[in-house]
């Protein structure tokens, strides 16, 4: 594995988006992973529609009645991948733009699909495997505990205590080997996380969090997706 890796430098990550006042982080995490996978499959970076997921994805947990992807009220990346697989794919952002509300009807147009899921899987709770899947398959959809993110401005977040209760969906786009930690008096490796709260939050919309011990549960819900090459079909 390379010591440092960043999919942004390789053109696989779209600009930071803003979910607005809507609990739709799960849809941004999903599209971010598929945007990266689609880039790997086709060589083109296309911004994908979160609003399609917000309006049209009501995929449910078959073992838990009433637990479904639910627009601004929340969802889960894996069920969103399942929806995308069943629906046939996701439209372009500009063809189905984001509105930050879930009161509209589903306007999915199958003829405008630009990215398709070939398969998706969960990655084991092992940081080397997470890094390997990141490098091989593109950005990963991850869950995180966001308690330190409400006040985060910059730097490598490496809290002494952080719950592993996951409440936010984000996108893992890379990692670094040497973010200086004054408390440890040494460089610490970190993950680079793309968030969906706009560019004015964090480090131009990004969050850096310590690698090494599942800090804030960042290693515990990791999904990788592979896209179909739509050009070759």
């Amino acid at each position: 594995l390379p010591e440092d890796f960043d999919w942004r430098e390789k053109g696989a990550v779209t600009a930071v988006k803003n979910q607005g006042t809507c609990g739709s982080c799960w849809s941004f995490s999903t599209t971010g992973a598929l945007e990266g996978a689609n880039f790997l499959a086709t060589g083109k970076l296309v911004s994908l529609s979160e609003q399609q997921l917000v309006d049209c994805d009501h995929e449910c947990d078959p073992e838990l009645a009433g637990s479904c992807d639910s627009g601004c009220n929340g969802g889960l990346m894996n069920t969103a991948f399942e929806y995308t697989l069943k629906a046939g794919g996701i439209m372009r952002e500009e063809d189905y733009p984001y509105t930050a509300t879930d009161r509209g009807r589903c306007k999915f147009d199958k003829s405008k699909i630009v990215a398709k899921v070939a398969n998706f899987s969960v990655v084991s709770l092992d940081e080397d495997q997470i890094a390997a899947n990141l490098v091989k398959n593109g950005p990963l959809a991850v869950g995180i505990n966001s308690v330190f993110m409400q006040t985060y401005i910059g730097g490598v977040s490496c809290p002494f205590i952080c719950s592993k209760h996951l409440d936010h969906g984000v996108l893992l786009v890379g990692y670094g080997s040497a973010g200086y930690s004054p408390i440890h008096l040494k460089d610490k490796p970190y993950w680079i996380i793309k968030n969906s709260w706009g560019e004015n939050w964090g480090e131009n919309g990004y969050y850096k969090i310590c690698k090494g011990s599942n800090v804030c549960g960042v290693d515990s819900l990791v999904s990788t997706v592979v896209a179909l090459n739509t050009k070759s079909q």
């Binding site: 894996n78 409400q150 401005i153």
Partner: protein, 117 residues
């Protein structure tokens, strides 16, 4: 720029009296920083009652930022666009990972990849 503006204030505001009351000068400083916050993030409130409530929440979040700074010294914590929201409001409006949904038992497990070279 935000970090350099906010850091000194945060340290002051936490310096509360033993009875929990904030000294007047720190309250004034908090008011000043609340004004900066409102200007920077284009915040406006519909009534004086709402404004006063948001100021109270803002002060609480400043104290929270100080706690986070102590617990997370390698990052910088301070005023963000969410500083006038309670943790509950923040959770409801800006999060959304549905923890009731579980990974299906039959979810594909990614194959183990070689990590050596």
């Amino acid at each position: 720029a935000a970090a350099s503006e906010v850091d000194p204030l945060i340290r002051q505001v936490t310096d509360v009296h033993d009875d929990g009351a904030e000294p007047q000068q720190l309250l004034t400083a908090a008011e000043h920083h609340f004004s900066l916050f409102k200007a920077r993030f284009n915040k406006s409130y519909g009534s004086k009652a709402e404004h006063d409530y948001r100021f109270k929440v803002f002060r609480s979040n400043l104290r929270r930022a100080v706690r986070h700074q102590k617990l997370d010294p390698s990052a910088t914590h301070g005023v963000t666009q969410f500083s006038d929201l309670t943790p509950g409001e923040f959770r409801k409006r800006f999060l959304g990972l549905n923890r009731r949904l579980r990974l299906p038992k039959d979810a594909n497990q990614a194959p183990i990849l070689p990590t050596n070279k």
